[in-house]
Symmetry: none
Subunit: 269 residues, 2 copies
């Protein structure tokens, strides 16, 4: 993973998941630049990175191309974000809220105003996002295309999202209110993902996933519930303690009254 | 001038003034089709018409390509319209009102409702519209691009205009989306409360609530997370299975392959 200069805080990240063609990375960068976005992240670009065709197709959006960050997996690409949309044009059997670009832009502006970075994941040119990819997102973002002809390429979808982000910055009601919603806001995605992995590991250990072919659906359903709860960091810690306790796994060493150290049935805090 | 079937009345016409590349005509047609527009007019396309590259670039928007009308001059292309926007990204010394795509879309919707067809003129790829071209328009339409990087191609500009037209026709963005948020809604509170009790009982059994005076706060925190997730009935069932599995409690009787009935480590479904 390379680490170029950080983009301005608050802007949504645009995450392209396994883009196949460098040219499409470039046209997406150009679309972003037009509406002032700069945080472009790539998960496993098929043609590798850096890519000359991407730069050429960016038509001068070199500041976006130069700041691209590349990640080996989607979960690493979103680790620092606190609210994530997955774009899809097909309805999925996943119980996630669905937003259009205008509602999503308003939500991401509010999130940014509260200091919580957000992002939008775009899928592969041919096949889009898998259900597993989508299971890492809080909500689904879809575009109001004609149901008889929905055929946007990735740069066009990025363009609409970036456009709505820019327009949404013009009047931010939340910033004008005398006080805000309580709360720390959602945990960094990395912590949520560790919780996913802990729960899935614990369930694996008790042979919960049977028959095995049902596993992906059950995993998606559990992740989806956890996403919906918009867990704070503290809540993620509490839940991890809950899972560890139910697993009857030692949590952390503690001293008993008689002075011995134990990790048995540790209290979590 | 060819005369194909008339597009639906009321839709704005998209007029490309002397487009240089057939490919750009095609990508503009594709952008239109995504948001339900069909009235594409060309003024003196440099590569002539019909154009194979246009059709290829339209990615299936054949109904738009087939309905294209070609005119020898801009004034003929707009002759039947009653309100016309000219797009430009540079300020001109022309005393015309300037609108953004959202305001323009609202205006064109109102115009359509009054039976007055409108249209939007887009300029040449390299040089845009001349002041003379613009003199035929009622108002100027410009896009809210970043002043430091305004570089939309013609299909991208058409995309934004078509997108705003589509949204402007629907009071509620959600109604324009190809699919909605899932509609099961939250589970009856009784089921949620049973889940609370199951979790709290399971944690009691592993002495999770220590010191006891912390119990109320931890219980409230866990309930709060579960409330925030707005769990459906199915999700409550899944979670109850998860908790039962982690408790290593028998869930429900099932038949083994040898025919015996067991409740050991039952599969949850």
């Amino acid at each position: 993973m390379n680490e170029p200069a950080q983009p301005p805080p608050g802007q949504p990240a645009i995450i392209l998941c396994e883009p196949q063609l460098g040219e499409n990375v470039g046209t997406a960068a150009r679309a972003m630049a037009n509406f002032g976005l700069r945080d472009l992240r790539l998960v496993n670009p098929r043609e590798g990175w850096p890519n000359d065709r991407a730069r050429a197709a960016a038509s001068g959006a070199d500041h976006v191309i130069d700041a691209v960050r590349v990640y080996p997996s989607l979960k690493e690409a979103i680790a620092d974000l606190r609210f994530v949309y997955a774009t899809t044009r097909r309805e999925r059997e996943i119980g996630k809220p669905v937003a259009g670009p205008r509602e999503a832009a308003a939500q991401m502006r509010a999130s940014a105003a509260a200091g919580r970075p957000s992002g939008v994941i775009f899928g592969r040119e041919r096949t889009g996002l898998t259900n597993d990819d989508i299971s890492y997102a809080d909500e689904i973002l879809t575009l109001p295309v004609d149901p008889d002809f929905g055929s946007l390429n990735v740069a066009q979808a990025v363009l609409i999202v970036a456009y709505e982000w820019r327009i949404a910055g013009i009047a931010d009601e939340a910033a004008a209110l005398p006080f805000r919603s309580p709360g720390d806001g959602p945990a960094p995605r990395a912590e949520l993902i560790r919780l996913f992995e802990q729960i899935e590991g614990a369930l694996e250990a008790v042979n919960f996933f049977r028959p095995p072919e049902k596993r992906p659906h059950v995993v998606e359903s559990i992740r989806s519930m956890l996403q919906k709860a918009a867990l704070t960091e503290q809540e993620v810690r509490t839940l991890r303690g809950v899972v560890a306790a139910l697993e009857r796994r030692p949590t952390r060493p503690r001293k008993l009254r008689d002075g011995t150290i134990t990790t048995e049935r540790g209290k979590f805090d």
